[in-house]
Amino acid sequence: MTLQFNDETFRDDYSFYNSEWAIKRFPFPFHEDSYMYSVNMEQHRGGPEGSVYEKRFDVDEHYVSEMRDRAKVLDDDPLRCQSLPHMTLAGWDLLELIMVSKSEDYPDLFELHRNGDTWRWVNKPLGIDDTFTFLDETTLPYGPMEYITRQSQGDFAVLDQRENNLWMDAGMITTQADWSLDFDIGMNFFEWHAPVPMAHEMGIFKRALKFLLNIQQGAPARRLNWTMTVNPLLDTSPENYHKWGIQKTTLTPENIGAKQHLRVELQTFYRLPRSNGLAFPIRCYLCSFQDLMTMPKWGRRLHRVIRDLPDELATYKGFIDNRPMMLDYLSKFDDGLPTSPGIFPEPETEPPFVP
């Protein structure tokens, strides 16, 4: 298919929308009727055709608008993109990984022509055609990480590996769920996860770190994470909490279906070959409750997951106050029938919802 890019905003008038295609392929994060932390990693080597797992870096109808939003965030706050001096090589690694992947996976949208160290990069959706020298920063308008991530959906944490730990030493973070690169930069894996409740006691982070330290070249991994956002906001940073936090109080039983969004992160992990760093792309997908409810399986299951979630997690994810209203809405889409295992909506086999 040829992608049609939406003309939409993630702020002010919130003209963001998902087409039917985008709803059907939304990465619903719950594979069963309940949720608890786990190191839910799997290999990142493709997935069903058309799914967000199919390509190494998913490009969808929101691409052009998301890149416009990123440029605005960076204009207002350049500290959303930072790279400590020793991370420049990892930035080139990331640039190479994304350019090679996108030009191979979407040849109609992106082209990479390499002649020794002279590279030409063509990005048709954004109208970019640049020639530069690989590993020579002076030939690009930005550092290599900033250059390529201004053209890539999702946030990118670029981690250094040393002392059996991972260090948040570079990143492009403009679409985050309430955390801040400027605060976390230079921290190690345990330090930047310190605010997460319960998981430390469960030993989750120790196990996750061991897993991540072992991720090897040619064998990337992935997982889904999720939270809730009122209004389709990409930028829910602590820096802008005064702008978006207040919006959580605007939910009503009438507008909740349209305003309340499930926010899902497709997190992937790539070993970077030249720097031995670890790239951690965090791609954000938003879907309104009313769009999710068009899939009977997701309607039934989302109600059960939100209903049974421990209070600590509902608090950490920022929706404990709105949970009763969410459950009033969601319960109307749960007829108590069993749901099939797995995250995909199974519209052909799942029984239709009969209110």
Binding site: H86, Q217, G218, G342
Partner: protein, 327 residues
């Protein structure tokens, strides 16, 4: 696609052709590989190793070797193998059974000995064949104008791999010490007075690694600024019996065989990467045990080692009457 599956453990594999075998000294040979389709190899970083699969009659040997070629030239990967006549057979196989043109399998590069890119200066200590990871590190640093210095201890001029090449190419950065001339690396003097932010790296015999770590610690160097890599063949030990529960097989681990090799010999797939007790990939749960573990890994912490519930089969052994593993 329902519940997430576990990621596959171990490194990905690459098919290669042996494109050249070059004698370096009377004990060391360099093996150069290209890809059958002529494509470039994946980029790698200085200090990375690859695990070479050797089909030796009905035995499969898997040995890790540092990549020593220039990371800027991806048309070729190269390793150097020192022939160990009293070793476990892998290096002798490479020297006597492998010919130019042979097809082999190696793994993707894995780096457990990477440069700390924050370092203001990189100070390298090599002993004998321990020179190999530094050759790639030097290539990487030369490309980025990095500040480095090599101190290389060899037995004699004739047995010093790549001594001539290194001294010709980098006369001001390379210092060679000959055992036959009773020369020794002046370690304490070198560690004293390095610029703040210098990182030291050592690869060689275990005695040399311990010497560098201990001397540096005694002089107040932060432990995180001293890096080492040791390729040790799994040490021998008395044979022991082990039951693999999931595959329902009982095997005897031979004196000169590692537990991991014994598991692989009977066709049970076990994850591995470094085969040297450092990477953590082969960590295995113990179902039951009556006896004593001989932990030789650098991966499990003390609590895990003394718990009797985990073992790293690549290097560790067991002395006792009953051992059951979750494999």
């Amino acid at each position: 696609m329902s519940a997430p599956q576990k990621a596959k453990a171990g490194a990905e594999e690459i098919s290669v052709i042996v494109s050249a075998i070059v004698p370096v000294t009377e004990q060391v040979c360099r093996f150069e590989f290209t890809r059958p389709d002529g494509a470039d190899f994946p980029p790698f970083s200085g200090g990375a190793h690859t695990v070479v699969t050797m089909k030796d009659a009905d035995r499969t040997r898997l040995n890790p070797y540092s990549l020593m070629s220039d990371p800027a030239d991806l048309s070729t990967y190269a390793i150097s193998v020192r022939r160990e006549d009293n070793g476990r057979g892998g290096s002798v196989f490479m020297h006597t059974q492998v010919a130019e043109g042979d097809a082999m399998t190696i793994t993707y590069p894995v780096n457990l000995f990477s440069l700390d890119l924050r370092a203001k200066k990189h100070l390298f200590f090599a002993g004998g064949i321990g020179i190999t990871p530094f050759l790639a590190m030097i290539g990487q640093l030369e490309q980025s104008n990095g500040n480095w210095e090599l101190h290389y201890s060899v037995r004699s001029k004739a047995l010093g791999s790549y001594v001539d090449m290194l001294t010709a190419k980098y006369p001001n950065k390379v210092h060679i010490y000959y055992d036959e001339k009773k020369q020794a690396i002046p370690l304490a003097a070198l560690l004293d007075g390095q610029p703040l932010g210098t990182h030291a790296y050592v690869c060689g015999p275990s005695g040399m690694i311990g010497w560098v770590h201990d001397t540096a610690a005694g002089m107040g160097w932060p432990d995180a600024h001293v890096h080492s890599e040791e390729f040790t063949a799994p040490a021998p030990g008395a044979p022991f019996e082990v039951h693999l529960c999931k595959s329902d097989k009982t095997i005897t681990v031979g004196e000169h065989e590692s537990l991991l090799e014994a598991i692989e010999r009977v066709g049970v797939k076990a994850p591995f990467m470094c085969r040297g007790g450092s990477c953590g990939q082969c960590e295995t749960a113990v179902v039951s045990a009556t006896g004593e573990f001989v932990h030789r890994d650098h991966w499990l912490d003390e609590a895990d080692q003394s718990s009797g519930q985990k073992i790293m089969p690549c290097v560790s052994r067991f002395i006792g009457s009953n051992l059951e593993l979750d494999l």
